[in-house]
Amino acid sequence: MSPQTKRLDQTVRKSESSRQVATTGHEWDGLQELNRPLPRWWLWLFYATIVWSVGYWVVYPAWPLLSSYSNGVFNWHSRAAVRSDLAALQTQRASMTNRLAAASLAEVESTPEMLDFARALGGRAFADNCAPCHGAGGGGAKGYPNLVDNDWLWGGSLDAISQTITHGVRSGDEQGRQGAMPAFGRDGMLKRDEILVVTDYVRSLSGLSTTAGADLSRGAKIFADNCAVCHGPDGKGNRALGAPNLTDQIWLYGSDSQAIIDGIWNGHGGVMPAWSGKLDPVTIKALTVYVHTFGGGE
């Protein structure tokens, strides 16, 4: 295509006007797009934005330097801005947080406005800190207790929940919850056949099916000798040691034979961190109320 015909394709002139205007060469059903010059003020605005951008270099942190960066004349910093926003928020909430700090847990829960505030604050703290293990709505997962049901390893009263959150479970904190399920099989305390028998017995405690012909009375004997120390003679558990109730329908690690055998063989000992050093007392209070009002609180 010669340059001349190319130009012909790209441009169509207004045939009658004294002033000729180029088009962009685009055509839709005979409609064409004129290629008019920009208005001058638009061009000025464009240059003005370029000048304006220079102002950002001066005012805000902009240029990387060898070991640091240019600070900007306002010394503005995004982290400082977040800190001051947080401080402003805390000041705004101060009247309620102060009330929460002074009130007992029971008082917080029985006063509607404090309850609403604590649930809002606790919900946020739960999502930030607890949800990774316990689930967004406290539903838990295998090995991570469900906080919505009415079964509690260490107690579901306000004080018990507060104690667990503050000091954790097997967290290394001196006041933390202690006690673990030993590895009966791995450490040679029970033989394989004994574990199989006691598994059937444990399943029978909550009415689950057992292996045909299982010697449950032998299982009961093994249970009384090894397990009842923590789980109680009737298998109802012991909250002082975090030993679960084996007679109800809630199973932290699963209720099938394999899961129970696995637990007896290898033991259990989940860990929850102590939050006392990480969260302030008011947040822990709010979290306690939030967890207590999931529905299973005692």
């Binding site: 441009t11 002139r13 207004k14 180029a22 005979g30 797009e33 967004a136 539903g139 919505v148 329908q249």
Partner: protein
């Protein structure tokens, strides 16, 4: 496609040939094809180098001439009404009782409420805004289908404020001729004094415009007092400054540039229009060929035809966007009708019939040209459709407004976990229940949950009434969220999903609001 090339768009999708008299939109495809052929044949029309095109075009200053007539009077009337509403509406009071603002129109951002006379809109009812926007769009389309750019010519804020600014300019700097002459003089005391006075007046109007704007967002009398004593919040001054600047720049300096370059509506309306829509037209069947009175007399003497247009350019001089209406439909024409007034005045003076420029359609002009019948069709598919949509959406909004309750109920089922099995085998579902109390006093609602017989309904932190239903107190003009727990001991089918109805019963025993959700089982 502005033939003088002064004010057409940089990238307007438009036809390559100017619209000639006697040509309709449907002719244009063929005409454009002709243009391509013509262009190919006349090689000499091309500049040697396309890079020689200018990068930018300076604005040609427009000196709109004063005009009197029907449309000018109509525009003055609309200017007074629209600006009157804008400037004074915030001062109208409306009694809503204790603890409620008494301003008729108020957008209360901190309180999250919008008040419009007897209507109070909460943020969750913002769908009314959707309805309003649909009606606004359809009204704009309908205007366009009936008589072109009625919005642009008479009601658009850009047009109204520019009209006001032009009037001020004319008052201080004089009419077109005087102003033109003065602008050609070297700067002296008179010119400087007038320019200063003009810009001062413009800035005062712009400042008042910004000031009135913020009054819609707070109690107007209080805010005026605070502004006067410099106690208003800084953001108030900031917004006044911003709107002062935009009003001054857009109505004082930018004017027709806003319509030609910035506004999307001319493009949209060009795509929406049809051949039956009335537009401000030059009736070339009557006007052509143009001839001055003397020339017309000479032509008649020789038995040659002469049109009614005496080529006096009054229609161009009065045009606020600098368009020559005689060149046909034009992107820059806002259809304000001032050229009709100007032409009518001239026609009256020369003793010819008025409305050489008028609201008409090109179809009718061509019909007259060829001795055919003119017709005005207002009832067309599109006008009926637009009217129907406006009626339906307006009806829905009115119905929704008339039947809405003073309280609202929203249920959100817990997503994770969907259900919980309790130690005794019972199944529990939890819900976040939002109750909005739009009354100005605290209301106690009894929560009823039906659909699952024998289920236990518990609300965290609430008492129960003698019937065992949870009682939820919601403060005046507030929303409260409560956690509601529903537990059943009955055996459920696998994957059960049972519909539940939540109702809140007001103190007088009536059902305030209901909402549906489900009870999910393992």
């Amino acid at each position: 496609m502005c033939p003088d090339g002064s004010s057409a768009s940089a990238s307007a999708i438009t036809v390559a040939t100017p619209m000639r008299p006697g040509q309709s939109l449907s002719d244009l495809a063929g005409a454009a094809a002709d243009a391509v052929t013509t262009a190919k044949l006349s090689q000499s029309d091309f500049p040697d180098n396309l890079d020689d095109e200018p990068l930018y075009a300076a604005r040609k200053k427009i000196y709109p001439q004063r005009v009197r007539g029907t449309f000018r009077r109509l525009k003055w009337g609309l200017l007074v009404v629209t600006l009157g509403i804008y400037y004074f509406l915030p001062f109208i009071r409306w009694d809503r009782g204790l603890n409620a603002p008494n301003q008729a129109v108020l957008i209360d951002f901190p309180g999250r409420r919008f008040y419009f006379f007897f209507i109070e809109i909460w943020p969750q009812e913002v769908y009314y805004l959707t309805g309003l926007l649909i009606i606004a769009a359809m009204a704009l389309f309908l205007m366009n289908a009936v008589a072109g750019r009625l919005w642009c010519g008479y009601l658009c804020p850009q047009t109204v404020w520019t009209d006001l600014f032009v009037a001020v300019e004319r008052w201080i700097e004089g009419d077109r001729r005087e102003h033109l002459l003065r602008d050609q003089q070297p700067w002296g005391f008179d010119r400087a004094a007038r320019a200063t006075a003009k810009h001062f007046c413009w800035l005062m109007i712009a400042w008042w415009t910004g000031g009135a704007w913020i009054l819609y967002f707070g109690d107007a009398p209080t805010l005026v007092r605070e502004l006067a004593t410099f106690k208003a919040p800084p953001i108030a001054y900031g917004f006044i400054g911003l709107l002062t600047f935009t009003t001054y720049a857009l109505a004082g300096w930018m004017r027709e540039q806003v319509c030609v370059y910035m506004c999307p509506w001319p493009r949209i309306q060009a795509a929406l229009t049809d051949e039956h829509a009335l537009n401000v037209c030059y009736r070339y069947d009557r006007g052509e060929p143009r001839a001055s009175l003397k020339k017309a007399a000479a032509l008649h003497e020789h038995g040659q035809p002469a049109g009614d247009c005496i080529d006096c350019h009054q229609c161009v001089y009065v045009c606020p966007t600098g368009v020559d209406i005689r060149n046909g439909p034009n992107l820059g024409c806002i259809q304000c009708g001032l050229c009709i007034d100007a032409c009518d005045a001239v026609m009256k003076k020369v003793g010819r019939a008025p409305r050489l420029i008028a609201y008409d359609t090109d179809l009718n002009i061509r019909a007259r040209q060829h001795g055919g019948r003119t017709s005005y069709q207002f009832v067309r598919t599109r006008t009926v459709l637009y009217t129907a949509i406006i009626a339906v959406v307006g009806g829905m909004m009115t119905y929704a407004l008339a039947t809405r309750h003073a309280q609202a109920l929203t249920i959100i089922h817990d997503r994770n976990p969907l259900f919980v099995r309790l130690s005794d085998g019972a199944v529990r579902n939890a819900y976040a229940v939002h109750i909005a109390n739009k009354r100005r006093e605290t209301q106690n609602f009894a929560l009823q949950v039906t659909g699952l017989a024998g289920a236990d309904v518990e609300t965290i932190g609430s008492d129960r009434n003698p019937e065992g239903e949870p009682i939820i107190a919601v403060g005046p003009d507030q929303t409260r969220q409560v956690r509601v727990i529903v537990t059943t001991h009955q055996p459920l089918k696998p994957d059960a999903s049972i519909p539940l109805t939540f109702s809140i019963v007001t103190a007088d025993g009536g059902v305030g609001a209901t909402a549906m959700d489900r009870f999910v089982g393992p």
